[in-house]
């Protein structure tokens, strides 16, 4: 293996020490020496040094002060402090402010210093490797997000055209002209559309930074009901909104959360129920908002209650994607919200949410 030479900068105002250091280590390392902090800085500006050793006691500046001064300009090289006497204060200062990796007393022991330099280099390398890995991951993540996002758009446009054609077929009275085929196309298109929408919501939730805007719950809830109740005109909504306070929050995520819960409440009704009801109550307080969404639908089995927020969990009777409530939970996590659920087959399901008011 071709081991890379480690570049070491040693700063000390005593020339003898520099010579001694060179004599001991020049075979192992690429050594740069400097008699003053200024000289050291010049070397740093021109050579990508990996380990810096500085003497604590120098005429114009201490080693710790020097390390402090290059904290932002040269954060990467690992620092070792050399000192002729045990100075507790300098030691504390070094640890607290100088970002110093090792503290070595003079006169140094060659083997100890050698090991320290080696370890310091490993620490340097680990830091750089980690940073590269993080950058690489961020890039991959970013690409993935963009890919998913554009795919969702490109997939959806022709799908929506298909749905438009089905509507046209209905308008022209041809829907039943080919047995159940048009109905099947409609069901499949709607399901695909639902998946695309949920996938988008999931990725947007992961990616987007929280942005706080003022939220008018009366308008938001009315809009969501209009949007989701479009397919089902039987359900009766009782909405009670108490908002005397201004509420600030992440509009996108709150819309996703309420949208999923409201659409679930509509979707999982009992088919036999003559009075389908969804009760929505919102109470805005100075520090948080309490929202409750209750329906008299089919309810959730007790043994499923634990699992409903898991990704891809579906029960046999329901025809969901297994993503809706998972997304609700993920979105709530991002904005420090909480959710509880209670449900049974007779009284239906109630979701209670609390979201902080970031006013």
């Amino acid at each position: 293996m071709n081991a890379t030479t480690i570049r070491v900068l040693y700063i000390d105002d005593e020339e003898n020490n520099l010579h001694a250091f060179k004599a001991s280590f020049r075979r192992q390392y690429e050594i740069y020496t400097a008699l003053s902090a200024d000289e050291g800085l010049k070397i740093l500006e021109n050579v990508a040094v990996q380990v810096i050793i500085a003497d604590q006691k120098m005429p114009n500046i201490t080693g710790v002060e020097f390390f402090k001064s290059i904290k932002n300009t040269f954060p990467d090289p690992t620092r070792i402090l050399l000192t002729g006497y045990t100075d507790i204060e300098a030691l504390a200062d070094a640890i607290n402010h100088g970002d110093i990796y090792r503290y070595i007393t003079k006169p140094w022991n060659d083997l100890e210093l050698h090991n320290s330099i080696k370890n310091a280099y490993d620490a340097y390398k680990a830091k750089i490797d980690l940073r590269n890995k993080v950058a690489e991951l961020e890039k991959t993540n970013d690409e993935l997000n963009r890919f998913i996002y554009s795919i969702s758009h490109e997939l959806r446009a022709p799908l929506v055209s298909t749905m438009g054609i089905v509507n046209l077929v209905k308008m022209e009275g041809l829907f039943n002209s080919s047995g159940e085929y048009w109905g099947l196309i409609e069901t499949c298109s709607n399901r695909l559309d639902y998946y695309i929408q949920k996938t988008l919501q999931y990725y947007k939730n992961n990616k987007t930074v929280s942005e706080h805007t003022e939220i008018d719950f009366k308008k938001l809830v009315a809009d969501l009901i209009e949007l989701y109740a479009y397919t089902d005109k039987d359900t009766k909504f009782n909405v009670s909104i108490i908002q005397d306070e201004q509420f600030y929050g992440d509009a996108f995520r709150i819309e996703v959360i309420l949208g999923n819960l409201i659409s679930n409440a509509i979707k999982y009704q009992k088919e036999t129920e003559p009075n389908k009801i969804v009760n929505i109550s919102v109470e805005v307080q100075p520090t948080q908002v309490h929202i409750s969404i209750n329906d008299n639908g089919m309810g959730i089995l007790n043994e499923h209650l634990e699992k409903i927020f898991l990704q891809f969990f579906k029960s046999k009777i329901n025809h969901g994607s297994g993503l809706g409530l998972f997304i609700v939970k993920e979105a709530l996590n991002k904005i420090n919200g909480k959710i509880t659920v209670s449900s049974n087959a007779i009284e239906g399901t109630t979701f209670k949410i609390t979201i902080p008011n970031v006013k």
């Binding site: 758009h153 438009g164 089905v166 046209l168 308008m171």
Partner: protein, 134 residues
């Protein structure tokens, strides 16, 4: 209803959607005349060419957002600088399959856009909106 002839302009790069939407409008009889444009440029050319002929200016414009070269928002930027004889007459609504939160908010915030319709177009929604304006 009204005895005046009503014209709609559809702006969409997608040939299939132009066909579907003009068919829906024909069946529902919501408009008497349909102008089809495959791009924002084509629509702007049509509008400036006919700016002095009131009967050729559409009453309603259904505008797609995602189009190559000039998208719906860029179209609106130029549109708002057109003569008042055009902008006062045309009511602009967006018709798009977008799910992008930013797109939706931008459409809602645009003073020239009365509404955002999601594809597929439901005639009932369109009819309700038309009642408010025409």
């Amino acid at each position: 209803m009204l005895n005046k002839l009503r014209t709609v302009m559809l702006i969409d790069d997608n040939e299939v959607d132009l066909k579907i939407n003009s068919k829906i409008i024909t069946i529902t009889n919501l408009f008497d005349k349909i102008i089809l444009c495959h791009s924002g440029e084509e629509a702007l050319n049509y509008l400036s060419r006919n700016k002095n002929e009131d009967d050729k200016i559409p009453d309603f414009i259904l505008l797609d957002i995602q189009m190559p070269e000039m998208d719906g928002f860029e179209f609106l930027e130029i549109y708002k600088g057109l003569p008042k004889s055009i902008t006062d007459k045309c009511v602009v609504a967006i018709l798009s399959s977008t799910l992008d939160f930013g797109d939706i908010k931008r459409a809602e915030a645009n003073p020239h856009v009365v509404r955002l319709f999601r594809k597929p177009l439901f005639p009932k929604e369109l009819e309700e909106e038309l009642k408010k304006h025409l």
